[in-house]
């Protein structure tokens, strides 16, 4: 038990350090220099920090947050809205030109995307999880495709070429995620399915 508490503490320290590292001006400049690292590294990392921090919250705390909202649904909706907002090219431009919006980005991605997803995830049925996955994967693919096809830059701060690079990365990522997700559905996961498959073979 003591071991688990201290390992959670170390994990929290690690998360805090990662967060501070991401917030440092040099790191921000570096990750925001290209569209793909901004969208596909910095933003996901910020959300992931919130997600892992949510997992590390004391069980009691998670329970009471759950009870307060009445279930997983509100948290999923919150994460979907917040992540949609940060997919707006306009919001990304605003974060680059205004320190205030940049701060809002750094606060909202962990607390309003990652954390609520972590709170909801344990309580979601496999259908609920499937919905979140497919919604995310299809959004990634569609926006990626738009970025590849757009003849003009959608972000004032990034070149059209970077934009189509990002688009390709997003489409590739969507395909990979979809493959992984399908993989867990059919290969890993459900022990009941495994047993049935074993029975059939026998």
């Amino acid at each position: 038990m003591a071991l688990r508490i201290s390992s959670a503490r170390y994990a929290l320290l690690g998360l805090g350090a990662l967060y501070l590292l991401l917030a440092m001006p040099a790191t921000r400049t570096w990750l925001e220099a290209t569209m793909s690292t901004h969208m596909l590294v910095q933003i996901p990392l910020l959300a992931a920090i919130g997600f892992i921090a949510g997992r590390l919250l004391p069980q009691r705390c998670q329970e009471s947050l759950h009870t307060a909202a009445g279930g997983a649904l509100p948290y999923v909706v919150l994460a979907v809205f917040t992540s949609s907002y940060w997919m707006l090219p306009r919001a990304m431009d605003a974060a680059l030109s205004s320190m205030l919006i940049e701060m809002v980005k750094f606060i909202s991605l962990p607390t309003l995307v990652g954390l609520p997803l972590a709170l909801a995830w344990k309580r979601l049925s496999s259908i609920g999880r499937g919905f979140v996955w497919t919604n995310f994967i299809s959004m990634l693919a569609v926006i990626g495709w738009l970025y590849i096809a757009a003849p003009v830059r959608v972000c004032n701060n990034y070149l059209v070429e970077q934009q189509s690079d990002t688009g390709w990365l997003m489409v590739i990522l969507a395909v990979l995620l979809f493959a992984c997700w399908l993989g867990t559905l059919f290969v890993g996961g459900d022990p009941a399915l495994h047993r049935q498959a074993g029975d059939a073979r026998a």
Binding site: T67, A69, G70, G71, A72, L73, P74, V77, L78, V80, F81, T82, S84, Y85, L88, P89, R90, A91, D93, A94, V152, R153, V154, C155, N156, N157, Y158, L159, V160, E161
Partner: protein
């Protein structure tokens, strides 16, 4: 409240708030990009422009304010640009050829402003003008006289210029319309020059 009711109620609340934020953040689902936001903003509140001194393809100095009492179409280019500036200049040529000749230079003029202060001198502006037959009486190809002036002009127009890493630039491509009071009143796409020219004729 039962958990299920509470869950639905809070999900609805989040949906309402979320939609509100997205509505606010996109000017009512009209502007998803910073460029779109700039256009919506101009329509809502026409913008005054700084009185910077420009120099045209014939080396003559002038200001934007000299065009008050007529309509002025403005775009931003640089003469070594091989891609989008060329499209814009072709569009400007089409507009010039479409607008009734007697209006040109009197009720309506065109102006292309270079964003490449370092390399675009009067000679290169002149060479660029001759490609499109731009006559300085109705279509000036101009440069700004100082870096500070260029910066304030680009800021007022809302143009963001970034180097493309190959010695060129990428920047907002659009047709900017200045009204008779000298304010920026409308920003349109460059791919419909004929519609723009017909709009001008109707406006006059």
């Amino acid at each position: 409240m039962k958990p299920r009711q509470r869950s639905i109620a809070s999900a609805l609340l989040v949906t309402l708030l979320g939609t509100g934020v997205l509505w606010q953040g996109t000017d009512g689902f009209r502007a998803f990009t910073a460029e779109g936001a700039r256009r919506v903003d101009i329509l809502r509140a026409p913008r005054a422009l700084p009185a910077v001194v420009l120099e045209d393809q014939d080396g003559r100095a002038f200001r934007l304010q000299d065009y008050q009492n007529q309509l002025l179409a403005v775009d931003f280019i640089y003469t070594r640009c091989m891609t989008i500036c060329r499209n814009m200049s072709r569009a400007f040529k089409q507009i010039r050829d479409r607008v009734p000749q007697q209006m040109l230079g009197r009720d309506f003029s065109l102006l292309s402003i270079s964003i490449d202060m370092d390399r675009d001198d009067v000679a290169s502006l002149n060479a660029y003008a001759s490609i499109y037959g731009a006559d300085s009486t109705n279509w000036r190809i101009a440069r700004v006289s100082s870096k500070a002036d260029l910066k304030s002009l680009l800021e007022a127009f809302g143009i963001v210029v970034i180097p493309d890493g190959l010695g060129g630039f990428e920047h907002n491509a659009a047709i900017h319309l200045l009204g008779r009071a000298g304010k920026l009143v409308q920003i349109s796409d460059i791919d419909q020059p004929i519609a723009f020219a017909d709009g001008i004729s109707a406006w006059l």
